[in-house]
């Protein structure tokens, strides 16, 4: 006795799977060619699966209300040798299987067995194109699967696509995910996920950075005269506020063909907290003198570290100051927050030779790099350079701050 498989037909060009809703025969039943064996449902229609030949039902492996991919074996028909001979030759038969090459078939089964703890897709085995490396096509099925797992396109950037035009297929994704299970994984904190989300959104823009060294000698001398002593970042905050008060356009946001000017010079400053960064906000910084801001600034730093920032001190700022010099770094290209055009950075201070025109010799002086990273859609190198030069000039005249 030979067996001929009952297979799930391709029920439409875009259909990858169908659900069995009724089985019309049982094992041992005699069937004839073209006889309806089961009813199946796609998202477009209800139809039937027919018998490919005369014979007896050997086995029905399909279950009611289960979804099966196109080409899946739903059961088998026991046939005479004569009927078996008349069936398509092994060479002619598996048109679908041959298009999906043996190489792919072999790996398809793997993810189903290895992965656990996540929702299994009902369908495997068909190469469905999806997006990974760029903003190219991503299939609805891929999008649904990624939404199910809470994944973003950026998470898939490490996958080499095997689909048409190098697209990442659902198989590529499943294999990638099953390989991840072999590694030690820890839960990313809410803070980490929030930062990731902000950075992803921010990175959709063309960002650029300009930089300038500035002498800190005057600032350090000025700092000693105050009690409590303001940190260098606060000087920078005030310098930025004054510069933007003179011309706020560089802090504007481009939306369509309109430049949205800032309503108030509310500025944020980055505070490192456990597994992330918080940005407390000082309001209307241009209206308040440096010495009047010190207490509030220190208070907000402490509240941020305790994650107890009051609502009025979060959100709505138009630019941010970050003192990456506290990590010992002298240069960096910070990324502005998604809703901001500018982030002003300051590197670590270090002694550097400064040419003294009067004495005609180098003298040692404390200096630091200022960096201005910006959305290049809003601002060009010239505009950014003029803003940064103005800020640098103010930093050398701390009494104006």
């Amino acid at each position: 006795m030979s067996y001929v498989p009952i297979v799930m037909p391709q029920l439409g060009e875009s259909i990858a799977e169908a659900t069995v809703i009724q089985i019309l025969v049982q094992a041992g039943d005699r069937v004839v060619a073209d006889q309806n064996l089961m009813e199946v449902e796609t998202n477009k229609a209800t139809t039937t699966v027919t018998s490919p030949c005369d014979g007896f039902i050997g086995k029905i492996s399909a279950l009611c209300h289960q979804s099966y991919p196109v080409g899946a074996v739903l059961g088998q028909i026991q046939v005479s040798e004569e009927v078996a001979q008349s069936q398509p030759s092994p060479n002619a038969e598996p048109v679908l299987a041959r298009i999906v090459s043996p190489k792919i078939e072999a790996v398809v089964k793997e993810p189903a067995q290895v992965r656990s703890g996540v929702v299994d897709p009902t369908v495997r085995g068909l190469p469905v194109p999806a997006n990974a490396s760029g903003a190219s096509y991503m299939s609805p099925r891929m999008k649904a699967r990624m939404a199910e797992l809470g994944l973003h396109a950026a998470d898939l950037s490490g996958i080499a696509g095997s689909g048409a035009g190098g697209r990442v297929t659902i198989q590529d994704l499943e294999i990638f995910l099953s390989n991840l299970d072999k590694h030690r994984t820890t839960q990313a904190s809410t803070m980490r996920v929030a930062v990731a989300d902000a950075m992803r959104r921010s990175w959709t823009r063309p960002l650029a950075t300009v930089s300038l060294p500035v002498s800190l000698e005057a600032l350090l001398a000025h700092r000693k005269t105050l009690d409590p002593k303001p940190g260098p970042a606060l000087y920078l905050l005030r310098a930025l506020a004054i510069a933007l008060n003179e011309n706020s356009a560089p802090a504007g946001r481009l939306v369509g063909n309109k430049l949205i000017h800032p309503a108030a010079i509310d500025l944020g400053f980055a505070v490192e907290v456990e597994d992330g960064v918080l940005v407390p906000v000082l309001r209307s910084v241009e209206t308040r003198l440096l010495k009047d801001l010190v207490t509030r600034y220190n208070e907000l730093v402490n509240l941020a570290r305790q994650r107890k920032l009051p609502k009025e001190a979060t959100g709505g700022s138009i630019a941010t100051v970050t003192n990456f010099g506290t990590f010992g770094l002298t240069w960096a290209t910070p990324i502005p927050l998604p809703e901001q055009t500018l982030v002003l950075g300051m590197g670590a201070g270090r002694i550097a030779p400064h040419w003294d025109e009067v004495q005609q010799r180098f003298i040692p002086a404390m200096e630091a790099n200022l960096t201005l990273s910006f959305d290049h859609r809003v601002l060009d190198g010239g505009g950014a350079g003029r803003l940064l030069s103005r800020i640098a000039a103010l930093m050398t005249q701390p009494e104006l701050l």
């Binding site: 009952i6 297979v7 799930m8 037909p9 391709q10 029920l11 439409g12 060009e13 875009s14 259909i15 060619a33 073209d34 309806n36 796609t42 477009k44 229609a45 209800t46 139809t47 039937t48 699966v49 027919t50 018998s51 490919p52 196109v70 080409g71 008349s86 069936q87 398509p88 030759s89 060479n91 002619a92 048109v95 679908l96 041959r98 298009i99 090459s101």
Partner: protein, 345 residues
């Protein structure tokens, strides 16, 4: 002038369809239906790759009348539902099955599903799209024949009523009208463009009314009536052949299947199915044969069995043929010139 009176007088001018003509057309119609039924079954058994099978159930009387009214040297660009017309024009059952089952020996070498096949060398054009794209192609072939000095040639192409709403339809008909080409434009108004009813498709009373605007001669026909279809199509083709310019034939009928076999057609208004338009042209023509004593019930049954046997034998043959091997297949595009009339091998 014939063209100005043809719509009203077609029945009187054209002689009644003879028994022989009717029987010949009926046998093609029956074979087309049996082949379609087999294709539907094969599709639901997962034997047809590519995801789409589009059948002509309910449209065969019209379709066969187009195919049978054309002759060697004519041009035919059928629609997805024109299995009957294709057979009548000269396609074989084996050829059709080779295409649908993906045989490497098929006209498209197993690379295409069921709709884009043809034999351009014989004037049987492979379909680009069923939304009017073929009209200008047929126009082009007819223009080429005109430039070569070939006379007495007709080109026919078919659309559904949905296809008449496209820009390609307008451009194609306008061009054929301006050039006064021997084009027979056949529109099967099967009431649904996929699931869109005619009320959402056109606002004119009859699509035949559009003929005037394009300089076409209009013809309307009951698409369920084989004798009427043979008469009207024969007349329209004869008019085009004898220099009376382009003809527009609009047939009223109902698609008796889904848009494709993946579609259960649950949107079709049951009142349409009960109406005269919803009658099955095969059953009607069988009645016609019996009433006129042109065939007995026994003969009808024998013919069906013979058609089924022919189709089963062809399926058995084609199923044993190999599908294309993607590893050895030559994926380079083919020069269409090779396939065209007069092209070198």
């Amino acid at each position: 002038m014939l063209s100005s009176v043809s719509e009203v007088s077609a029945a009187e001018i054209v002689p009644q369809v003879s028994k022989d003509e009717y029987l010949r057309a009926f046998r093609w119609l029956l074979l087309a239906r049996v082949l379609d039924e087999k294709l539907a079954a094969l599709y639901r058994a997962g034997k047809i790759p590519g995801g789409g099978v589009y059948l002509g159930k309910g449209q065969e009387a019209l379709s066969v009348s187009v195919g049978i009214s054309l002759r060697t040297g004519d041009v035919y660009a059928p629609l997805i539902r024109d299995g009957a017309g294709r057979l009548a024009f000269g396609e074989t059952v084996v050829e059709a099955l080779r295409n649908c089952l993906g045989s490497v020996l098929g006209p498209m070498r197993g690379r295409d599903g069921n709709v884009h096949r043809g034999r351009p060398r014989d004037g049987y054009l492979p379909m680009i799209s069923h939304l009017g794209a073929m009209i200008s192609v047929v126009n082009g072939v007819l223009m080429a024949k005109r430039f070569k000095g070939q006379k007495g040639v007709v080109g026919a192409t078919c659309l559904g009523e949905g296809g008449t709403s496209t820009g390609a339809f307008h451009e194609g008909l306008n061009q054929a009208g301006v050039e006064r080409l021997p084009l027979v434009m056949v529109v099967a108004n099967n009431q649904y463009a996929y699931s869109t009813p005619t009320s959402r498709q056109f606002a004119c009373k009859s699509l035949a009314d559009r003929a005037q605007g394009y300089g076409f001669t209009p013809h309307s026909v009951d698409g369920t009536n084989l004798a009427e279809c043979l008469k009207v199509l024969g007349h329209a083709v004869a008019l085009a052949r004898t220099g009376n310019g382009p003809q527009l034939v609009v047939a009223s009928l109902l698609r008796l299947c889904g848009h494709g076999e993946h579609d259960d057609a649950s949107y079709i208004d049951p009142r349409l199915k009960e109406s005269e338009i919803g009658r099955d042209c095969l059953e009607l023509s069988e009645e016609h044969l019996l009433v006129n004593s042109w065939a007995s019930k026994q003969e009808l049954s024998q013919w069906r069995t013979a058609a089924q046997r022919a189709v089963e034998e062809a399926v058995a043959l084609v199923q044993k043929e190999p599908s294309p091997d993607p590893y050895t297949e030559n994926w380079c595009a083919l020069q269409t010139g090779r396939f065209a009339e007069g092209g070198s091998k």
